[in-house]
Amino acid sequence: MHHHHLILRVVTKLLAGTIILYALYVQFHGDFSPGGGFQAGVIMAVAFILYGIVFGLVAVQQVFPPWLVHKLVALGVLIYAGTGVYAMMLGYEFLDYGAFDPGHPSHGQHNGILAVELGVGVTVTGVMIAIYYAFAGRAPRISDEDW
C-alpha cells in the first residue's frame, strides 16, 4: 500500500505546509490585498483535504479529529460575535469597531476587521473539513462488488 503513489505522497507532504502558510497570508493580508477570512478558511481546509485524499481519512482524522472540527466551527462564530460584544461592553454599538481605538477610529476599524475575519476563517476551515469528513466518511449502502 505504502509503495503506491510515491510522487503524490512526497508532493503532498511538501505542499501541505506551504498551503497552510499561504492560507495564513491570505487571512492576515486580506485588508491590503484580495482575500480575507472566507478565502483563507477554504485554502486552509484544502491542506487537510489534500492530505486526507492522499493518505486516507484515518490519517487525516488523527491530525484533525472530527470533534475538534465541530468545536472550531462554533469557536469562529463566537470570535465574530465576541468582537461585537466587546465593542458593546465598551459602550458602543454591536460591531462598532471604532470602539477599539477611540482616538483613531480608522485604526479601530482595522483591528476589528482583523478579529472578525479571524472568526470567519476559523469557521470556514471547520465547515469545509466537516463537509469533506461527512462525504468521505459515508459508508456506501451497497459495496462496489455487489453491483
Binding site: K71, V73, A74, G91, E93, D96, G103
Partner: protein, 509 residues
C-alpha cells in the same frame, strides 16, 4: 487625530436591547456546541429563551403606545447601515416567539430524550437556538436584505430540526427534503423580489424604500418585486395553494419542533408580508389593494374551508392539527384582505392567539406520543379517562381553536367578523362563522376519541411528566386568560394595526 478621544456617549443596556434580542440566542448556539454537554445544552438554551422573553417584554412596553426604537449595527447610520427597528407590530410578534420558545424548551426536555438519539441532543439544541435567532432577526430587522439573511438562518436550521424526526419515522427525511425544496424556492422568490426593489430604488432599508417609492411613484419593476415577495413569503407562510410542505413537515417532525414551528415560523412569514405590504408599499397603493381583494381574500376563504374539510377526515391527530393550521393561516390572510383597523387587529391578535393555541395542542399530541408512541386516533382511545391531567388542556386548546367565547380564539375571530361587517362584507362574516363549524367537527372528533371511547382492556397509562404538564397548563391558562382579559394582546395588536395602516414605521400619533 491620534491621541485625541472623540466624545462618545456610552450606550446603556436599555439602548442595546434590540441587538441583545438576537444576540443572546445567537451566541448560545455556538456555546452549546463548544461546551458539548447534553445537560448544559438544555439549560443554556432555556436560559437564553428566558432572557430573550424578558427583553421582548421590555421592548414591547417601550413601544406599546406607539413610536419606535432604532438601532444601528456597527454604528453605521441607516439607510447605508443595517438598522434594527422595533415598533408595536414586531414587538408583539417577538413577544409571541420568545414566549413560545420559553414554554417549548421545558416540554422539549423529555420529548427530545424520547424521540431523538442521545448523540444528537447538543446539536439539536444548538439548531433550535439558531432557528430561534433567525425568526427573531427576521422580525426585528429594518433592512430588507437582512430579512433574507435571517430567513435563511431560520429555514436551514428548521430543515435539520424537521429531519430529526427520522429516528422515529424515516418519512421525516422526505418531509424535510420537500420542505427544503419548497422553502428554498420561497426564499429565492423573496430575494428576487428584493432585487427588483433595489433595482428600482437603489436602497435596502425598509423606511428608505417606503420613502423612495412614495417619492418616485411606482412602476412595473416595483410591481414585479411585490409579486415575487408575496409568493416567496406565501410559500413560507403556507398560504393556501403553496401549503403542500406543511402537513408532512409538521406530522413527521419531532413533537417539540412541531410545537415551536407551528406557533412561530408561519406567523413570522405573515408578519413579513404585513410589513412589506403596509410599511414599504404604501397602503393607499392601489396595486396592493387589488392584490388583497382579488388574491388574498379568495385564497384565504378557500384555505379556511378546504383545509378544515381535509382536517375532518384525518385519522392522525398531529396531521389533523397541521391541516387546521393551514385553515387558521387563512383567517390571518383574510384579516389583511379585509383591510381596516378591526380586520388588521384581528390578523395580529390571531397570530398571537393561534400561536399559543396551536402550541398547546401540539404539546398535547407530543405528550400522548411520549406515552403511547403514536398519534393515530385508534391508539388514543379513551385516554381522557386514563390521563385526565394531560388531556384536559387539549380540550381547552380545542375550544380555543374553534373560537368558543371565553377563549383566546374567540377574541380574534370576533375582531375578524367585526372587520368584515365594517366593510359591509356580511357574506365573509358568515363564512368565518361557518368555517368555525368545521373546526367544531374536527375538534369534536378528537375529543370523542379521547373521552367517549373505551380504553383498551386493562390499559394503564401514566400521566405525562411534570416538565410537559406545566408548560401545557400554562398555555391552557393563557388561552383562557387572553380570552377574558384581552388588554395586552388586543391593545398591542391594535397599536400594531394602526402603525401598519399609517404606512410608516411607528410614526403613529
Amino acid at each position: 487625530m491620534a491621541g485625541t478621544v472623540t466624545p462618545h456617549d456610552a450606550k446603556t443596556l436599555i439602548e442595546q436591547l434590540p441587538i441583545l434580542q438576537v444576540l443572546v440566542p445567537f451566541c448560545t448556539a455556538p456555546l452549546i456546541v463548544l461546551i458539548g454537554s447534553r445537560r448544559m445544552a438544555w439549560a443554556l438554551a432555556f436560559a437564553a429563551a428566558v432572557i430573550s422573553l424578558v427583553i421582548s417584554y421590555a421592548l414591547l412596553m417601550q413601544v406599546y403606545g406607539g413610536g419606535f426604537i432604532s438601532y444601528q449595527l456597527g454604528g453605521w447610520a441607516p439607510p447605508l447601515g443595517i438598522e434594527y427597528r422595533v415598533d408595536a407590530a414586531n414587538a408583539l410578534v417577538m413577544l409571541l416567539i420568545s414566549a413560545i420558545a420559553t414554554v417549548t424548551l421545558p416540554f422539549a426536555y423529555e420529548s427530545v430524550k424520547d424521540e431523538i438519539t442521545s448523540k444528537n441532543h447538543t446539536l439539536f439544541y444548538a439548531c433550535f437556538m439558531l432557528c430561534y435567532t433567525g425568526l427573531m432577526g427576521v422580525v426585528i430587522t429594518g433592512d430588507a436584505f437582512n430579512v433574507f439573511v435571517f430567513l435563511e438562518i431560520s429555514s436551514l436550521s428548521t430543515y435539520v430540526l424537521v429531519a430529526q424526526g427520522a429516528g422515529r419515522d424515516k418519512r421525516a427525511l422526505t418531509a424535510a427534503y420537500d420542505y427544503l425544496i419548497m422553502g428554498t424556492i420561497g426564499a429565492t422568490f423573496f430575494v428576487i423580489g428584493i432585487g427588483f426593489l433595489f433595482m428600482s430604488t437603489g436602497t435596502l432599508n425598509m423606511a428608505d424604500l417606503a420613502d423612495r417609492i412614495a417619492e418616485q411613484g411606482t412602476n412595473r419593476t416595483i410591481h414585479a418585486g411585490f409579486a415575487f415577495i408575496v409568493v416567496g413569503m406565501g410559500l413560507k407562510a403556507a398560504m393556501y395553494p403553496l401549503h403542500l410542505w406543511l402537513p408532512k413537515a409538521y406530522t413527521f417532525a419531532p413533537s417539540a419542533v412541531t410545537v415551536f414551528l407551528s406557533a412561530t415560523s408561519t406567523k413570522m412569514a405573515i408578519y413579513v408580508i404585513l410589513r412589506f405590504m403596509f410599511s414599504i408599499y404604501n397602503p393607499d397603493f392601489i396595486f396592493a389593494l387589488n392584490v388583497m381583494f382579488l388574491v388574498f381574500m379568495p385564497l384565504a376563504l378557500i384555505a379556511m374551508f378546504s383545509a378544515s374539510f381535509v382536517a375532518v377526515f384525518q385519522v392522525n391527530f398531529k396531521r389533523m392539527l397541521a391541516y387546521s393550521s393551514i385553515a387558521q393561516i387563512g383567517y390571518m390572510l383574510l384579516g389583511i384582505a379585509i383591510f381596516n383597523l378591526s380586520g388588521l387587529t384581528g390578523t395580529m391578535v390571531h397570530m398571537f392567539n393561534h400561536g399559543i393555541t396551536k402550541a398547546l395542542l401540539f404539546m398535547g399530541v407530543g405528550a400522548l406520543v411520549l406515552r403511547t408512541g403514536s398519534s393515530f386516533y385508534n391508539n388514543l382511545n379513551g385516554l381522557g379517562r386514563l390521563m385526565p391531567l394531560t388531556v384536559a388542556p387539549i380540550v381547552v386548546g380545542g375550544l380555543s381553536l374553534i373560537g368558543v367565547p371565553g377563549t383566546a380564539g374567540f377574541v380574534s375571530k370576533w375582531m375578524l367578523v367585526q372587520g368584515a361587517f365594517e366593510n359591509g362584507w356580511w357574506v365573509v362574516a358568515i363564512l368565518i362563522v361557518l368555517s368555525s363549524l368545521l373546526a367544531v367537527v374536527y375538534v369534536w372528533r378528537a375529543i370523542e376519541v379521547l373521552y367517549l371511547t373505551e380504553p383498551a382492556e386493562g390499559a394503564k397509562m401514566a400521566e405525562a411528566p411534570m416538565s410537559m404538564l406545566i408548560p401545557m397548563w400554562i398555555l391552557a391558562i393563557a388561552c383562557i386568560w387572553f380570552g377574558v382579559a384581552t388588554d395586552l394582546p388586543l391593545g398591542a395588536a391594535s397599536t400594531a394595526a394602526e402603525v401598519l395602516l399609517s404606512g410608516s414605521f411607528g410614526m403613529v400619533e
